[in-house]
Amino acid sequence: MNPSRVAAIVLRQIYLYRGSPVRLLPMIAWVTIDIVLWGFITRYLNTVTGARFNFVPAILGAVLLWDFLTRVMQGVTTAFFEDVWSRNFLNIFATPLKVSEYLSGLVITAIGTSLVGLLAMLVLASGLFGLSFVSYGLALIPFVLVLFLTGIALGVFGASIVLRLGPASEWLIWPIPSILSPFVGVFYPLSTLPRWMQAVSRLLAPSYVFEGMRAIVAGKGPAPGLLALSCGMAVGYIVLACLTFTLVYRHAIRTGLIARYSAESVG
């Protein structure tokens, strides 16, 4: 792994954000809308139910953490799409750059962009709606870690799909978090779901995060074993996603896809 080559991939993204501040807007705009919308919903729910249950940490906290995962995933995919949109694959891959260095550059970019979104969400959620993560205690660390790793894995997997199927498949990638959220149980306990959906949920590491979060809000502690399992699963996703990208990349090298990457050339 050559740090200079990884830094080059990150620097390209920094130049893009610096050259066009409009790119910063989506990092903040969508999470702001989500926090404001769900902030008022939770405030309303608190007034309806009285003091029996506090919806702010249960729902607004969940929205914030799920948006964090989404931002991490989109941090990877958007950085990758920049090379798709500018048809830069030939320039990028006909160089000494290794796939691992390229992916590392995308991941570091995603860390930066998702932190911007996270900061905006924290400021809004705590400032306007009094959300505090103190009640989660140390469990917050594995929560954030699992969501971060899953977001990275989804981003790398999404990039693999677009590399394999072509630029038009970009629209398959954006809705991935929305498709997963009902299974993950962002807003409700997994026991609410039918059996087949619960079976899918058990395969998704973030499910354990949101179950753990609800357990804390309900006054119980999260199950350490399940949190450890979800961490292990998230690491497994990363390995699988990187393996998928590498296999798709090798296929693209074998078939000439990298050299002539466009919507028309992908078959």
Partner: protein, 251 residues
């Protein structure tokens, strides 16, 4: 003429590429020596770009071996490609970065030492100093070609691959670029593989020409010698004749 003691920077042996039943490149072998400019010419679909893509490591050969500066491309691609660079009319640098930003990013990818000074040198060499803060996307095609060549020279490559580098530029700029490439080969002893459909250009620039058709090398030699040996008036006449024979053979 190429110095007698020149050594191969690029060595291609038995290169093949097939897509199902279609043979794009068929048992191609050649070498490009230090200080030598080799023209790779042939009709559309002859396999020129396929060959270049395999040398650039973005297309895996079905068979054969490629060595760049003695390094096996299949076994150590990153090391082999650090000795290489390329410019192609169909691979412009990202239009949403400035000239200088693009050079910095690619300079870091190629591990260029004293990058700031090197960027200044190539900006000056390719008359790009006044465009350094312009986004590449707003430059004319000739200016973009010069930026691509500046990127290609950034790491002082031992092997330079140029796929129709003068295809979209005016005669005056094309002459200028040919002079720079000749200078690169002569003074820095770089090896150059150059594809072009402009036979005048190939005659003027290349020490040696490889005629490729249907994925095979049909003829090779020094441009003037080939013209004499085949009794053609110009390299273009020879090219047309060889291409027609190839098409007739295919039919």
């Amino acid at each position: 003429m190429i110095p007698a003691n020149s050594t191969a920077v690029l060595s291609v042996q038995g290169l093949c590429k097939t897509y199902g039943q279609t043979v794009a490149v068929n048992d191609v072998s050649f070498a490009v020596n230090r200080g030598e400019i080799v023209g790779l010419v042939g009709p559309n679909g002859a396999g020129k770009t396929t060959t270049i893509n395999m040398i650039l490591g973005v297309l895996e050969p079905t068979a054969g071996a490629i060595r760049i500066a003695g390094v096996d491309l299949a076994k150590r691609p990153s090391e082999a490609l650090s000795n290489t660079n390329f410019a192609a009319v169909y691979a412009p640098l990202p239009g949403n970065l400035t000239v200088e930003q693009n050079l910095r990013v690619f300079g870091m990818i190629y591990g260029v030492k004293a990058l700031g000074a090197r960027i200044e040198a190539v900006l000056d060499e390719f008359d790009l100093l006044r465009f350094r803060r312009q986004k590449c996307g707003v430059l004319s095609s000739g200016e973009q070609t010069r930026v691509g060549l500046a990127k290609a020279m950034l790491n002082n490559p031992q092997l330079l691959l140029l796929d129709e580098p003068t295809a979209s530029i005016d005669p005056s700029s094309a002459r200028d670029i040919r002079a720079r490439i000749r200078n690169f080969a002569a003074e820095r002893q770089g090896a150059v593989l150059w594809t072009s459909h402009n036979m005048y250009e190939v005659t003027e620039v290349c020490h040696r020409v490889l005629f490729l058709a249907q994925g095979r090398i049909l003829l090779q030699g020094e441009p003037d010698a080939l013209i004499r040996e085949h009794g053609a008036a110009t390299l273009e006449d020879l090219f047309v004749s060889v291409a027609q024979q190839s098409l007739e053979a295919e039919a």
